[in-house]
Amino acid sequence: MDRVTGLIAANYETKALGSLTSERTIASLPYGGRYRMIDFPLSNMVNSGIQTVGLVTPYKYRSVMDHIGAGKEWGLDRKNGGLFILPGSVFGVASSQSRFLLRDLKRNEVFLRRSQADYVLVTSSDAVYNMDYRPLVDKHIETGADITMLYREAVEDAPNDLSLILSGEQVTGFNRGGLKGEPLFRNCFVMRRDLLINILEWYAAVDYLDIFEALEDDLGKMDIRGYRFDGYIRSIATVRDYFQHSMELLRNEVREELFSRENPIMTKVQDSVPTKYLAGAVVKNALIPAGCVIQGTVENSILFRGVQVKPGAVVRNSILMQSCVVEPGAVVENAIIDRGNTIAAGTVLKGSPDNVFILNKHLI
């Protein structure tokens, strides 16, 4: 895989995630108890043997940079290759399906030109999956396609994503939004590096478009193919996606695949102490990272580092992000409690499975 350079568009912003992404981009959205969304594509690349990764940073880059640092946890603090921090656009995207703006790529043309790699693998950071990209790249090389796009059938309607119109392996068109069961583009594609540089020149006049929007009218001139991933993959575009797909992590088979021992999803290490369960703790079906203290009830829930559930407090069907404290007797149900909130004693916060209660990040 030294023939492949990775490029992650970590600058995609969306309004569909509401307050969850008002202070952060989707790349730094906490997921699965101790991860951030960016961990999935970044770890996949590293686990696939890619040693050079360009990271297109969002305008609000603080939280992403705080998380990634020099790429040490991913083994990307290398002398040869490693992590390259690249600038992205200041302005928002043209449509909610746009992930890969030509001007973002154009702005980083130097990175592409200096690369020694034959191929570029480009991903966004809004999908949760654990994938070895090598078969995708091998297939791309074998077929000699111009572009190979990763897809997987949608598990439910996905209005914010692109779906592929396929004729066999050939991509003949795109639909904005995908219906359940349709081949949904998973925002990951591979192509020759020199072709990408050429595309940036050919389409320089429409650089405000997403690369696939720009190519849409010229699909007949290019050989664009789909590659089907048959593993667990979930695109996170809405609050509903976020909540439902997070909860799927409580299923053993999902965890086993996503958090594979051979190809671990890597993340920033925080030196937290193991989680302490005191007398009175009642915990069932919960995903809990190190650094929590549990004295109350936690059921069907996902906690993040440093969460404290005090005696008599009840947390059900909820996601509690970093450093939240649920005081004695408080009840949290069907809720997403963003980072740093303290739920006062006796408070009851309840949403419903279809209308999850969200408490915004507590800014310190």
């Binding site: 989680t275 915990v283 995903l287």
Partner: protein, 379 residues
Amino acid sequence: MKKMKEKECIAMLLAGGQGSRLGALTKTIAKPAVSFGGKYRIIDFSLSNCANSNIDTVGVLTQYRPYLLNTYIGTGSAWGLDSSTGGVAILPPYATESGGRWYEGTADAIFRNLDYIRLYRPKYVLILSGDHLYRMDYRKMLKRHIEKEADLTISVMKVPMEEASRFGIMTAQEDGRIVKFSEKPKEPDSDLASMGIYIFSTDVLEAALVQDSTDPTSEHDFGKNIIPKLLAEGKNLFTYEFSGFWKDVGTIPAFHETSMDLLEPEPPFDLADEEFPIFSNENISPPQYIGPDAAVENSFIGNGSQIFGKVVHSVISVDSFVGKGAVVTDSVLLPGAIVRENAIVTRAILGENTEVKAGGIFGNAEGEIVVTGDDSVVE
């Protein structure tokens, strides 16, 4: 040899001991590498103390079963010790033109690495052992060493008089000047026990070690040889009295008891103190999962563990597994330990990656703590 940037104080960490009283736990690894507290290894405490004391140059002397320790320490980056002007150096015994041999005592180990110390030309050398649990800001001890213009400062703590005969005991004047040192005295006249933490002024250390190396009757041990010799020569030896938590978990009962103490609501040694964090070179494991029929109480559980059974008053280290219907009580599972369905583990220490088969029974509610070595299988 090119000299490195001059350092005020560097640390030499003795990590070569087997710790044979830990039995099966140190069969394949050295004592400082033994896992403790759910995710740590014993050496984390001294390395974290160095990091928190701003000592960025640490020589780690290894000898017994060093591989795990070597890979675990790596570049020292997990403790923030991968400094460009110092950092962590692993110092195993090595050969010279006159041949090679094992380290023959704590003083011999340091003597044979004097060249390493000279690289940094430190004014002071802090000598530590890698097998104790404690938090200490060595800067405070160094400050006292400098104030007293001492040649050697020995960290001590008060122990109950009836236990004093188990320790190296310092008899000191009011101002801390040491007048007598007795190794495990039958009739102790002081309750100040040496913690095996020394700060030497480098010239005094060097002279003493060079002289000791030529003495054929010496056991080349700091406690037995170097300290008595410096006292006899009338050097300035002072105590530094430490009053926090300090523990040698060098025996199975001590290891088990100290592990159980972590589970108290207000533990005597709080690993979670964020003012003085304990760092470790942890694996990136997913969060722990507690299953729908699990029950967990009064326990410590590390990342990567999956609990489907009952865990009562136990330390479950990273990447462990407790199957459905299994019951783990008053026990310590070291990293990667597996307790299969319906097995019962009571007052036991399971070595790393040990597997207790389905329905297996290990340990008893009374009597001695039972232990398995790493990678064992219990039927």
